[in-house]
Symmetry: C2
Subunit: 229 residues, 2 copies
Amino acid sequence: MEQILPHLDSVFSIDCVLFGFDGKELKILLIERNEEPFKDWWALPGNIVGADESLDQSASRILYELTGLRGIYMEQYYAFGDPGRHPQGRVITLAYYALIRLGGDKELRPISTYAKRANWLPIKDLPKLAFDHQKIYDKGLEKIKRRIKHQPIAFELLPEKFTLTQLQHVYELILGKKLDKRNFRKKIVSFGVLKELDEKQKGVSYRAATLYRFDKRRYAKLFGKEISF
Amino acid sequence: MEQILPHLDSVFSIDCVLFGFDGKELKILLIERNEEPFKDWWALPGNIVGADESLDQSASRILYELTGLRGIYMEQYYAFGDPGRHPQGRVITLAYYALIRLGGDKELRPISTYAKRANWLPIKDLPKLAFDHQKIYDKGLEKIKRRIKHQPIAFELLPEKFTLTQLQHVYELILGKKLDKRNFRKKIVSFGVLKELDEKQKGVSYRAATLYRFDKRRYAKLFGKEISF
DNA sequence: ATATAGTGTGTAATTTTTACACTAAGTAAT
DNA sequence: ATTACTTAGTGTAAAAATTACACACTATAT
C-alpha cells in the first residue's frame, strides 16, 4: 500500500450524502472524479477536514463549496475507517447527510476542483460508486428511513409551501412503501406542526390542493419527543 | 496551541462509554489520569486507533485492554472533533458505547499505562470529567435511552439468567422512570425473546422469582424490526 | 405461627392504528 | 355548457395496543 497522498499517516475526511427532492424523485448528489484512484467513477462529494474547523463547520463548508447552499439541516451519522477503504492510505471518513429541496428558486452551483462534474442522480438507478461509497450511501438511506419515522425531517425536502400529497410522496419514497392517504393525513395533522394556508396550488390541470406550511415553533416543541410513523 | 503530542497534525482516537450493571446500579468505567493534561482527573477510557485496525476492531481492542472483556456488543455512536477539545492539538475522537454485566463470574482487569487506576462509578454521582468527556457521556446515555426503546439491548447488562424484575429495573434505570410491573411484563413477553426456565432465583429471603434466559435466535429475527417501549 | 418482602397475575377503559370508497372541485377538450 | 378527466378531500367501524389499577401467593426469617 503506497503512500501517495500528501504527507499523511492518516487523513480525516467528511463525505456527504445529499438527498435531494425535485417534487418527483429522490436523488443524491454525486461527482464524477477527475483523478486517480477511481478516475471517471461517480463518488460522494467529500473533503478533508480543515485544521481549525469543527466537524459540523467542516461539513457545512464542504456542502457550501459543493452546492452553494447554506443553512441546511445536516447531521453526522457514521464513521467509516476500514484500513483498506482507500487504496492510497489510511483515510477515515465521517459521513453526513443533508436533505435538500431541488429546483425552484436557487440554482445549485457545485464547484469542485477534483471533479469533472457534479450531478443529481435518482437513487432508483445509481451507478457503481467509488471506494466504499455504496456502503456509506446505504447506511445513510437506512439512517434517514429511521429518522423520518421519528422526526419530521421530510419538510427539509419540500419547498416552503407544499401540499399534503407532496409530503406523503416524500414519505413514500423514503420509506419505500405506499401509505394510506386518509391515515397519513390524520396522523401528520395530529402532530400539529402543519399550518394550513389560504392558498392553493397553482398551474395544475386539475383541482388545486391546499398549501401548507411547516410550523417551526411547534416543531421545536415537538423535537426530542418521539413521534412515530 | 502547542503541538506537544508526538508528531501529529491530527490524531484519531476512540473513547468508550462502558455502561455496567451490577444488579443494582448503572455505572460507567472511568480511569484516573496519570498524565497531563487533566492529570488526576477522571476520564473515559480511550486510545489511538492503530494503523491497520478497522474502527470496530480498534474499539474491541481498547475495550479488551481496559477490561479484559471480549465479545461485547459495542457500537460507535458519535464523532467529537471540536478544534479546542484537546489542549495539546487536534484530536478527533469516535465514541463507542458498550453494555456490560458486572460482578459475578469473570473479574475485570483494567490495564492501562496512562491511568493510575480504573473504576466503575455510579452514573448517579459522576465526578467532573476531563476534556469534553461529560459531553461524550451525555450523548452516549441519550443514545442508549433511544436504543433501548427499540432494541432489546438491556439483556447485555444482565447475567445469562435473570428475573423479570431485574430486567425491568434495567429499563427503569436507563429510561429514568418507573414502569408498571404488569404492563412491562406483558410487553416484554410479547416480544417473544424470553425463555422461561425451570429454575428459580436462589439466596433471597423471600419468594424466589422465576429465571429467564434471553433467546438469541428469536432476537436475531426481531433485530432490525422496530419494537417500542 | 406470624411477620415480611417481593412474585405473579387480569380486566376494563382508552387510545391508536388499520382498512377501506366515494363525492367534490377544478381543468381541458369538445 | 357539457363532458371527461384527474386529483383533492373526507369518516367510520373494527382491531390492536396502551394504560391504569390491587390483591393473593410464596418463600424465608424469627
